[in-house]
């Protein structure tokens, strides 16, 4: 019974303009020649996002410091996120500092909106700070399922 009530509540929320209210996967992909990036996360019914497995950043344009090219959940932080039935926004951040690397950081911001085909499409901005500071921008698409 409790499950039915909760389901009814969650269904009602769907009628309230705003958030898509379901548990599932949320993924964004970038592959435009400047940056290759895949990101999948779990999203729960209250829309909290949980980072998935390892994430790789590959870019021919931006010189991404080696320690930041492949990041696990412990190192990559989802510092800002917003997900509803209109848009997906993600800001991922990681930094590194050791004997070899004075300071390096990577920040990826994704903003995607739902289009007429029910696809989330938008733009990304990659900011790399290290021996050379680089900003790369382009297009991205995201899926929720």
């Amino acid at each position: 019974m409790k499950k039915i009530v909760k389901t009814a509540f969650l269904a009602a929320l769907l009628l309230f303009p705003g958030h898509a209210w379901a548990t599932g996967d949320l993924g964004c992909e970038i592959n435009d020649g400047n940056l290759k990036f895949d990101y999948v996360t779990l999203v729960n019914r209250s829309m909290r996002l949980f980072l998935g497995g390892d994430v790789r950043f590959e870019s021919a344009k931006a010189e991404i410091p080696a320690p930041l090219q492949k990041l696990d959940q412990g190192k990559l932080q989802l510092v800002h996120s917003w997900y509803d039935d209109r848009e997906i926004r993600l800001m991922l951040y990681a930094e590194h500092q050791d004997d070899k690397v004075d300071f390096a950081s990577i920040r990826l911001t994704i903003v995607a909106a739902l289009d007429e085909n029910d696809d989330y499409v938008g733009t990304y901005r990659l900011e790399v700070e290290g021996t050379r500071n680089v900003v790369v921008t382009g297009k991205t698409s995201c899926l929720v399922g």
């Binding site: 509540f9 929320l13 510092v79 996120s81 917003w82 300071f103």
Partner: protein, 144 residues
Amino acid sequence: MKRFVLLQFLFAVSLPSAAHATGNADCSIDEPGLNVTFEALYGYGGTGELRQNHASIALTDPKSPPGNWTFDLDGSALEQQWVVGDEFKVLLYKEHEGADMVLEIQARRTAPEDIAFDGTYRLIIGPSDGSLFSRAGKVACSMG
């Protein structure tokens, strides 16, 4: 005194770049039947995410679900945040009195470089009897 201030300044600018100063983020809803305060710290100069957030809710709306709806929310209630540039968006979620409660705040900076943000809130409560309570209105926030 001047010397002390100068020393403080020199100490501050000598900090490594990764160490960022913090500011205070506050929001308040002050309406008949609903009073909300939301407070958090955020780092400026870095990624700027909210930390150590805390909210107090006093819902006395006669249409509110049965039970005591004056309660506090700790940091675990912050489900989503987008505090970037001129936008301030937070989503709080908590199970309370056997119901699911969602409070969404969306505000924008009122003027460039201003610390004031104006926006709207939506409060949704799904009690265990399957009914739905919701209300919406205006919210004022500041980040300083």
